[in-house]
Every structure is written in C-alpha cells, then in structure tokens.
C-alpha cells in the first residue's frame, strides 16, 4: 500500500533533526512543517528574508509585510529574524541551511534535478530553486513517483532543462524513500506492501537494492 501524501510528508519530517535550519519548497513540501515530531526544534527559513517562520495568521494577525516565499501571509515566532534577499541567499549559497525539501518534475540517477521549466510551456521562472539545490547541504525531493500520464520521473537522465546537476540526495515518493548513490537510485525504505519490482516498473532509473 503506497504512502498517502500525509504519510509522505510525515516520512520527510523524520529526516529532520533537532536544531536543523530547513527550507521547504512551495506545494507539498510546505506541509512537512505539520509533521515535525514533538519536542524537535526545527527552524524554517523563507528565502524572501526570514528565519523562524510561523504558521498562517488568524484573520486579525494578517500583515502585508509578512509573507513567505510563496507570497502567502504567515506569522512570526519568538525565534524570528528578518534580513534582506542578499543575506538570505548568502545563507543558502553558503551551505548554512541543513536541508531543503522540494518538489520535482524529474530526477536522474546521478542526482540531476529538473523542476523549473517545460519547454513549449510558459516559463514562470526558477525563483530560488537553483540557489537552494546548489547551496543547501542536503536536498530531499518530495514528489509523486510518476507523472500524471504515468511516465517515469525517476530517470536515467533528465530530458527537461536542469535546475541543478548532481544536486539531489534523497527522493521520497508514495513508494518509498530513495537515495542517490553509487550505480543509481538506492532503495532505503519501501512503503508497506510496495515491492522492489513495482519501483523498478514505475522508474526508468537504475534501482539498486541494499
């Protein structure tokens, strides 16, 4: 039985460690924040210029000067600190963020990542994604195992334009947790009742078992 989206987020949250500084991408990765184990201190960075990001505000707390990188209204916490975009990406580029959890269109078995453009479609831009994958210590991809048309997203080589080359460390899909390593994509953990064969069938990348 494949993991639900909540289970995927919860599994991603288990990769966090106490004291970590973490940047969560827009979409499903944002929800990982809801699954932080009790008592674990995780500090969320928002690349538009904040550490110690809080949850969404109540109606009364909404502040136009306080948004996240997805341009959503948020709140501050006792640990919050604000800074400018140059400082924000100094942190990111400089390797000070422990982990980033991001979505993906394609991941290749050598760690290449494509998550910002589809040729022929209108390109919205890479935002901070290229900086995050280049600079953050550990990049975890949280994505559906396959595209909507059923095609593989775990590939031998990406055919979409890259966000970064050799940047991915781990991939979490509904089928399990995978790690980029010697010889291909290593299965670290499978969702209940998911078989290695199913992973292989639904991937193009070389799948390595421990």
């Amino acid at each position: 039985m494949a993991w639900t989206r909540d289970e995927m987020c919860a599994r991603a949250a288990q990769e966090l460690e106490d004291g970590f500084y973490v940047n969560l991408g827009i979409g499903m990765p944002t929800k990982v924040a809801n699954f932080i184990p009790d008592g674990m201190d995780v500090n969320f960075q928002s690349e538009n210029g904040m550490l110690g990001m809080g949850s969404f505000p109540t109606d009364n707390e909404v502040d136009a000067d306080l948004i996240n990188a997805g341009k959503q209204t948020i709140t501050e916490t006792p640990k919050s600190v604000y800074f400018d975009s140059a400082q924000s990406f100094a942190m990111i580029r400089g390797g000070h963020i422990n982990m980033s959890i991001l979505g993906a269109l394609q991941v290749a078995e050598n760690g290449d990542l494509a998550n910002w453009m589809i040729p022929g479609k209108m390109v919205k831009g890479m935002g901070g994604a290229m900086d995050l994958v280049a600079g953050v210590k550990r990049v975890v991809i949280l994505m559906d195992h396959n595209a909507k048309d059923g095609s593989a997203k775990l590939l031998k080589e990406c055919n979409l334009p890259l966000t970064g080359a050799g940047v991915v460390d781990d991939i979490i899909t509904e089928l399990g947790l995978f790690r980029i390593g010697e010889g291909g994509v290593h299965i670290q953990e499978l969702a209940p009742d998911v078989s290695v064969d199913e992973v292989r069938e639904r991937s193009e990348a070389t799948i390595v078992t421990q």
Binding site: A64, D84, S85, A86, G164
Partner: protein, 233 residues
C-alpha cells in the same frame, strides 16, 4: 540634509527618468514594492525601460501597471508567474526576459553596489542559465561567473526613514529593497513614515543614508496582499 526630502513620488523622481533607462525595483511579489513610484513612473510616460525586479507584479498592481502601458522593454527577474499581461506580451515577442536565479539576482545587486564587477557561484552550473557564461574551477568544483548589476535608478520602499536618509524596513518587506538601493546610481526611497534624524536607533538602521539620494513619505499605501492565507484562531 533635508535637501534629500521631497513631497511626493512625482517630485522625487523629477529629472531622473528617461527612455531606455534601467530601473531596479525593490519588493518581493507585492510585498515591499515602491507602489507610489511605480505609479509615478507610469504617469511620466517614460518608455523602453529595463526593469530588474524579482517579480513583475500582478496584472493591475505593482510593476504589472507598467506592462499594461507597454513601458517595459525588458525584465530581469527570477519569477514572473501570477501575471497574464506579462505572459501575453512575452509570448507575442513584445517583451524581453532575462531570468536570474533569485539569489544570483540579489547578489548581483549587492555586488554592483559594492564595487564588485563579477563573482563566482555554484548556482545554475549545469543549467541553461549558465550557458555562454564563463566558468572556473575552485577546489575541484565548477562555478559560473556572474556580473555585478547596477541601474540608473533604484526605487525602494521602506517603513521608516529619517530626513538624513537612514532607512528601516519592516519584516519581510525588506527583501530586495536593501541590495537594490545600493546598486542604483541614484536611489529614491518611499517610506510610510518620515522622521527627524536621531529618531531611528543608529544600531538598527538597515540602509545607511549614504545610499539614499532622495526620500519622501507616501500617502495611503495600498500594500495589497497576493495570497491571503489564514488559519483558525
């Protein structure tokens, strides 16, 4: 020092605008954008602008207003979603677009303001945005060279400023405003509150007065929210 103080956006930009110029516009999404100066630039009719801004506003607010009037020739941005006018003009070939990774754009401005003509970064190595750019190896890793960016004019939004030009931002409205301010040959700042020198804490100033050439207090900021997300109380 009150020679830096102007009455409003129009007078503060007087004599600074010309066709074909490059403008650095602070803000992230609609947060911390110089909304009064964007209107004044629109009303001035100046055209063929190159605008560096992380985003391009929405159709009817922020920099989207200058797209509607077709005053913009080129955008330098990291993300231009949320804007149908942009998409239509871009697909029709009427608008040039230079994508910069967000951190590279911020650092290019910071470098431009700091007298650094170029720097190396890992960001974008192996991606199409690095194509045609010089690369260099340091300690076994490949980096791409990016150029410092300066503009004829920086238009900046802040929370408070004093009449000497010292400026304080508020929360995440700081974003690109500080680095872009330093990269403008001229920098004009609109503030919500203009105070006397000495009223701001000298250890708490985000943008030292040296970067502020002109300053004015804007009236009736709209401060539109792009995505109002709320939780239950």
């Amino acid at each position: 020092m009150s020679k830096k103080v102007y009455a409003d956006a129009k007078s503060a930009l007087d004599g600074l605008l010309h066709d074909g110029m490059t403008i650095l516009a602070g803000g992230f999404g609609l947060c911390g954008i110089p909304e009064h100066m964007i209107l004044a630039v629109r009303d001035s009719g100046v055209k063929d602008l190159t605008i560096a801004s992380n985003n391009a506003g929405v159709d009817d607010f922020g920099l989207g207003l200058l797209l509607q009037t077709r005053q913009v020739k080129k955008m330098i941005s990291s993300y231009v979603g949320e804007n149908k006018t942009f998409e239509a003009q871009f697909l029709a070939g009427e608008l040039e677009l230079e994508f910069n990774p967000q951190g590279t754009l911020a650092e290019r401005c910071r470098a431009g303001g700091a007298g650094i003509p170029a720097f190396y970064t890992k960001t974008g190595v192996g991606a199409i945005i690095a194509e045609g750019k010089e690369t260099k190896e340091f300690d076994g890793q490949t980096y791409v060279m990016e150029r410092g960016l300066t503009g004829d004019l920086a238009i900046i939004k802040a929370w408070k400023g004093d009449k000497a030009g010292n400026v304080v931002f508020r929360k995440t409205a700081r974003n690109f405003n500080a680095p872009m301010a330093t990269a403008g040959k001229v920098c004009v700042v609109e503030v919500e509150e203009l105070v006397e020198p000495g009223e701001l804490e000298p250890d708490g100033i985000h943008l030292p007065s040296i970067y502020t050439h002109r300053i004015f207090q804007g009236q009736d900021f709209e401060k539109r929210i792009e995505f109002r997300t709320v939780s239950e109380a």
